[in-house]
Symmetry: C2
């Protein structure tokens, strides 16, 4: 049971953790802070939090667990600001989508309290945001990855693991670097690729006409290009190394496909396409028809 939980950033991610822990009876009081006063009040009125803090200092001073659910670019300044106000033994954890940068920022900002910091990433979300988008079951049956480092206190890690399990999530531990590569491969790179395609089509004079004939396949492929631009800028900037490494490989592989099309090398294409299909079919066995898979 958590006596007081402080949520910094009471939007979809932070608000949903609060609601899930309240529902599970795992927290006595939730105090929340968001940069905008309107958002803080809204979170209170919606019952997402129990108490509003008007500063980060106020939010964290009595908290036993502090959850940072702010955009990636805000992690470092928030960590710097809260460092001197955190009480002895309090646990700090976060929900950032890339871990190396947050860990570096936490190490520098928290000093000897760094062992109480548990880097985390709940792999869940919807395209909506703000406290009104929060709901108690967001994390149910979703994965939460924790990326403890050498200095991480074992009790703090166990407490954060337990907290997430109470929301219905499956909790996994991973190396910081491995997390960042895995997420770059399955989330960050696909977003960049989809943004790039839709951005390229949006620049065409005949964009409307082109998109009129797009069907199911394109709709699914490009859905992630509808994600929040600021959030994705932050992720690209903060997970730079992992994303650039994979982009480099992606370019090289795409060049090979390009050469095969140019040289009418059907065998090469079949080989790549078959391996891709097999990997996807093995991993994602989805029942039912796909509408318009050809287009």
């Amino acid at each position: 049971m958590i006596n007081q939980l402080a949520i910094i950033g009471v939007g979809l991610i932070g608000g949903s953790l609060s609601l899930a822990l309240k529902k599970a009876g795992m927290v006595k009081e939730v105090i929340g802070y968001s940069r905008t006063e309107e958002v803080r009040q809204q979170a209170l009125e919606l019952g997402v939090i129990d108490k509003v803090a008007n500063s980060i200092a106020e939010a964290v001073q009595d908290a036993d667990v502090i959850f940072l659910a702010v955009p990636m670019a805000a992690m470092e300044p928030v960590l710097v600001e809260l460092a001197e106000h955190v009480k002895e033994g309090a646990i700090i954890t976060d929900g950032g989508s890339a871990k190396a940068q947050v860990v570096t920022a936490a190490k520098s900002a928290l000093g000897d309290k760094f062992s109480q910091f548990v880097p985390g990433h709940p792999i869940a979300g919807t395209e909506r945001s703000g406290p009104e988008a929060a709901f108690a079951t967001l994390y149910q049956d979703h994965r939460v990855v924790l990326t403890p480092v050498e200095e991480t206190n074992a009790d703090a890690l166990a407490a954060v693991r337990d907290m997430w399990q109470q929301t219905g999530a499956e909790v996994f531990d991973m190396d910081v670097e491995h997390h960042d590569v895995v997420l770059a491969a399955t989330s960050h790179l696909p977003h960049v690729l989809a943004f790039n395609l839709v951005g390229m089509l949006a620049d065409r004079d005949d964009c409307d006409d082109v998109l009129r004939y797009a069907a199911g396949g394109f709709r699914d492929f490009s859905r992630i290009a509808s994600s929040d631009a600021v959030m994705w800028r932050d992720i690209c900037l903060t997970n730079k190394d992992a994303i650039l490494g994979l982009l480099h490989q992606y370019h090289q592989d795409l060049n090979k496909i390009e050469a095969a099309i140019e040289n009418q090398d059907g065998d090469y294409l079949i080989d790549v396409f078959k391996r891709a299909k097999q990997a996807r079919d093995t991993r994602f066995n989805e029942p039912g028809l796909i509408d318009n898979s050809e287009v």
Copy 2:
């Protein structure tokens, strides 16, 4: 009303046209041919066709309308084979995903009968194939693009338009070149991009581990990488010019994003991502939540 319709390739696309026209009472008799005898018999037993032809010559000799629903690579040999057996005034049309190559093949194979050829492309499909996958409502509320050329006979064009409208499809006319670019942009290129990503991940030693953490965003993005490898090889090879042109542009745009990440140029990223999001949101206004859009 069509007296006799010949379907060359009685799979999902050909079989569904037959079933739709029978349901609409628009055809007296459907004769079908597929390369494999087993498939021909299956189509007959399932009632997808009324009569089996054991050769292309036999299939087309009495037909008033001939529909080619064979893989792209088979279009040319099939056109060559049927040319001398087609009766006077018969209309020939096809369902190929790229039009320039089929038009060139038809011009060369059909000679003075080329004016009776109406190039077409029903933008519909599922991931299933074969006569057992065919169903009468496949084309309902889907788009069919016809790409008549200068030589195309106006009556033949009108008859094919009418035929598709009877299936419940919306029929549009388009230039051959424009069709091929539009489809390359919204279908062929996305498939190549998705195949390339999943193929690249499939080659990693930690592929299983990587894909274990992939969530909704990746699932949607990569769904098209589950499409038939042979069909997509054929499309890549036959729509070569349009695909290569767009791939070239895609590479250039991706290089700019790469440079922006490298140089931590957040403004550039925001600009591309916002334009992409806006284009997609304007075109595809999907109600409801997207599960895991962040990942």
